[in-house]
Structure formats: structure tokens, C-alpha cells
């Protein structure tokens, strides 16, 4: 017997994935603005931020309604709680994309500091993490979610590498301090996006299996 609240849950999922699509696009465009030196794309990211914020509010409203009207249990309850948390992560990803787009506008006022090698690598991994985390939501795929978690260390390592490398440029030539510092901030933004993708993946494991894999060191007895 299909219960009528499943329609509400499906719509909630659809809206979350719509928002996920917007956040993915924002990140991809913001990174391209830097890598391809394209000011227009950066402006587009800034213009589209409102859509993500509106989706956050709409999804929150839906979560409140579903929780108030249906006495959800077990996997359904966990799913709605996970949607609420993923909603926040996606909005924060949108904010990070905006930060990158703003950094892009500043970076583009200066000559290129160096050829970009690690940044494209890092953004490819981070965008892949986001895509797979959202696919894991759709497919309720714990294995895919776990594959997102293990990529977080690669992202952290790349951030440290970019930081070290740009620091040497800054020490050698003070005229590159401003753009190099913005590139460091961009690496930091990408690393935070990876963290949000990791949170989403952890939420998938939580709602599918009921296991809370956040903070393994915490004693849950």
C-alpha cells in the first residue's frame, strides 16, 4: 500500500536535487571564471545566487510541513532530517561559489601568477565529489557515498600543496601577493565545498543505513 505522504517525500527529493543542480553549476562556473579568465561567467554566478537562497527557504518550508503533518518513522524520518541538513550544505556550497566568483573578479585584474596545474585537478575532484554525493542521494547508494568520503584527504593535500607553492611565489615577488592570496582563498573555498560534499555523503549513509559516521572519535555509547 503506497502512502500518500510518499508524494510529498518525492517532491522534497526532487526539489533538493534541483537545488543540487544549481549549486553544482555555480561551483563549475565560478572555477571556470578563474581558469578561463572569464569575467562574465563570474558575474553570472553572482546573479544566480538568489535562486539557491530561495530554494533553501522553500525546502525548509517543505521539511517543516512534512514533519508537522506526517508522523514519519525510521527511514522516512531519517531522510527528512538528512534533507534538512543537505539543504544547508548546498546553500553553503552556493556561498563558497560566490566567494570564488568574487575572487575571480579580483584575480582577473592582475596578470596570471602562474600556469594553473593543481587548481584544475582540485576542482575536478571537488566537483566529482559533489556530483557523486548527489547521485548517492538519488540512488540511496552507500558505496558511492563512501567513495566521496575517501576523496576528502586528496582535496586537503592539494589545498596544502597550492598554499605552499603560492607562498613561494609571494615571497619571491611582492607584486603577486594580491592575486596569489586570492588563489589561496579559492583553494580554501574548494576545500570547504569538498567538506560539504562529504557531509552530504555522510547524510546518505545516515538515512539509508541509520549509521552516523560523522566524528568517529565520539563515543556513542
Amino acid at each position: 500500500m503506497e502512502r500518500h505522504f510518499e508524494k510529498d517525500l518525492n517532491e522534497l527529493k526532487e526539489r533538493l536535487l534541483w537545488m543540487g543542480g544549481l549549486a553544482e553549476r555555480a561551483v563549475h562556473q565560478a572555477v571556470q571564471a578563474v581558469l578561463n579568465a572569464d569575467e562574465q561567467i563570474a558575474q553570472r554566478v553572482l546573479a544566480e545566487e538568489t535562486a539557491i537562497n530561495e530554494m533553501q527557504i522553500e525546502i525548509d518550508d517543505r521539511v517543516v510541513h512534512v514533519l508537522a503533518l506526517h508522523q514519519l518513522m525510521a527511514v522516512d524520518l531519517r531522510f527528512v532530517l538528512a534533507v534538512s541538513r543537505i539543504n544547508n550544505d548546498l546553500e553553503r556550497i552556493g556561498d563558497q561559489a560566490v566567494n570564488i566568483a568574487q575572487a575571480a573578479q579580483r584575480i582577473l585584474r592582475h596578470p596570471r601568477v602562474k600556469p594553473y596545474v593543481d587548481l584544475p585537478k582540485m576542482s575536478e575532484i571537488v566537483e566529482g565529489m559533489m556530483r557523486d554525493a548527489l547521485n548517492a542521494v538519488v540512488r540511496r547508494d552507500v558505496e558511492l557515498a563512501q567513495s566521496v568520503l575517501v576523496r576528502d584527504d586528496q582535496v586537503d593535500n592539494l589545498r596544502d600543496q597550492i598554499f605552499r607553492e603560492l607562498l613561494t611565489y609571494m615571497m619571491g615577488d611582492s607584486s603577486v601577493v594580491y592575486p596569489a592570496f586570492d588563489l589561496i582563498l579559492m583553494a580554501k573555498n574548494l576545500e570547504r565545498i569538498g567538506d560539504h560534499a562529504t557531509n552530504i555523503a555522510e547524510d546518505v549513509i545516515y538515512f539509508v543505513q541509520g549509521r552516523d559516521v560523522r566524528h568517529p572519535a565520539v563515543d556513542r555509547r
Binding site: 500518500h4 510541513h65 508537522a68
Partner: protein, 274 residues
């Protein structure tokens, strides 16, 4: 969007329905209208100046603590109070714009079906229970077709189709209640009134009745009295909260259960009294 092949930037197209997936169009016409209704048992007044509209093809729930007058209000909607000695009513109730009190009561009650708390099938076969109303009222459709259609609408057909001539008493409580709903539907009422229809049923049977009501409301206006406010939240489009015979709040259900306006409604739905 295919669930398994979600791609980058795959933003679904087209609008989805309202925030809860429940249509809340204010354009839907009113089927019944209750206006300044006061009701007395002898000298004791039990309903005070109640006005509310029952929207067509929607489910309206009446909730409130025991003795708040919700069942009394429901019973006035098909003039059942007229069978009670010393009961007195003033105010107006209309069905499709026409006062229900000027109509022939028997004709009028054919337009308003009623289902009670305890399943009350007739001591007859399943078939005869459903066919009872159409036989008395007359029908142009073949009886067997009408019985099947009514049992299907009541989500009971698949369970009883091979035993239509068995006694209705052989059915489970939940099945008997769905049979009573089928019996009410067989005369094709415009409005279906249900007075705590699940209170004598187990959770699985309750869930079946709730799903049935959600399906039925597109073709029949429904008013339900329930002491179970979670049930009202789950199935209804509009909810009226009554307290001590007064209508405290009447709103679209999502609004009443998330942002009630009156502090008494909030206290009741959060379990702080009643």
C-alpha cells in the same frame, strides 16, 4: 529525470505543486456553508456562533478535546440532530447555496452520506449491504456494476470480490468500516461525513481508511471528526479546531499545524491540554 543517470546541471523542469503537495486553491467552490450556528440540548448551549465553509472536493477535519462539540457539529450537517428530543438549532447551513432545512429530509440525506465510529453493517451479505441504498432509491445502473464500483472506490473490492454473498459480519473490523463507506458511496452522495471512523480500528486498517479518504476526496467532499489530530494532519486539507463549543481556528491544515494563530490551538496541537 532518470534517477540513476543524474548528470551535472540536471535541473528538473516545470513547477511542482504547493509546498506540501496538496492543492490549496482558494478558487475551489464551497459545497456547504455553516453560518452563525448555535445549538442547544434543552437549556444547555453546546455550539456557539459557528461559521465555516466546507470546500468542495476537499477533506475538512474537525478536531478538539472530548465534549468540544465536534460530533454535534458534524451531525447538524445532515440534520441528525432532529432525531434528538429537546435539541434546538439556530443559524443557517446551506448545501450548494440552498438551506438544508427547507428540503425534504429523506431526499436531503441521500446527498449526504454518513459513516460512524463503530462499523455498523446490516445483517446481510456484503453485496446486499452495498446494494441496499440503490435498491430503495432506485438506480438506472445495473446493481452488480454499482456494487462493484462502490466497493472499488472504498478500496475493498479486491479483498471481497470472491465472497460477495458472505455475511458482512464475517469481515474484519477494518473491512466492515470500508464496507460501510462503500454502502454510503453507493447512493453517490455529494458529501461524506465520518464520525471518528478509525477509532475502533487497528493501525493497519486505519492507514487503509486514511489512504482511501485521500483518494476519495477528489470525487467527494469529505468532513471528518477525529480525536486523533495526527490523523487530521495526515489526511485533511482544512482543519477546524473547536473548544467548548466555539470555533477557535479554521485554516488550511499545513498552516494550522505549523503556524497556528490562536494560542489555544497551539496549546492543543502541542499536547499541552486536552
Amino acid at each position: 529525470m532518470s534517477a540513476a543517470t543524474r548528470l551535472l546541471f540536471s535541473v528538473p523542469a516545470g513547477p511542482l505543486s504547493g509546498a506540501t503537495g496538496r492543492a490549496m486553491s482558494s478558487e475551489q467552490p464551497m459545497r456547504m456553508n455553516i453560518s452563525k450556528l448555535n445549538f442547544f440540548y434543552g437549556e444547555k448551549q453546546v455550539l456557539f456562533d459557528i461559521s465555516l465553509g466546507v470546500t468542495s472536493a476537499r477533506l475538512t477535519a474537525l478536531i478538539g478535546p472530548s465534549g468540544c462539540g465536534k460530533s454535534t457539529l458534524l451531525r447538524t450537517l445532515n440534520r441528525m440532530h432532529e432525531t434528538i428530543r429537546n435539541a434546538r438549532l439556530d443559524g443557517e447551513i446551506t448545501l450548494d447555496g440552498e438551506s438544508i432545512f427547507v428540503q425534504d429530509v429523506t431526499q436531503f440525506r441521500r446527498r449526504i452520506g454518513m459513516v460512524f465510529q463503530k462499523p455498523n453493517p446490516f445483517p446481510k451479505s456484503i453485496f446486499d449491504n452495498v446494494a441496499y441504498g440503490p435498491r430503495i432509491n432506485g438506480t438506472s445502473r445495473p446493481l452488480s456494476e454499482l456494487v462493484e464500483a462502490s466497493l472499488r472506490r472504498a478500496a475493498l473490492w479486491d479483498e471481497v470480490k470472491d465472497q460477495l454473498h458472505k455475511s458482512a459480519y464475517e469481515l474484519s473490523g477494518g473491512q466492515q468500516q470500508r464496507l460501510c463507506i462503500a454502502r454510503a458511496l453507493a447512493v453517490e452522495p455529494e458529501v461524506l461525513l465520518l464520525d471518528e471512523p478509525c477509532s475502533a480500528l487497528d493501525p493497519i486498517s486505519t492507514a487503509k481508511i486514511e489512504e482511501l479518504l485521500v483518494q476519495l476526496k477528489s470525487s467527494c467532499t469529505i468532513v471528518i471528526v477525529t480525536h486523533n489530530m495526527q490523523q487530521a494532519a495526515r489526511v485533511s486539507d482544512f482543519t477546524a479546531f473547536l473548544l467548548n463549543g466555539s470555533l477557535i481556528e479554521f485554516s488550511p491544515t499545513p498552516q494550522l499545524f505549523t503556524t497556528p494563530v490562536d494560542s489555544r490551538t497551539e496549546a492543543y496541537i502541542t499536547g499541552r491540554f486536552g
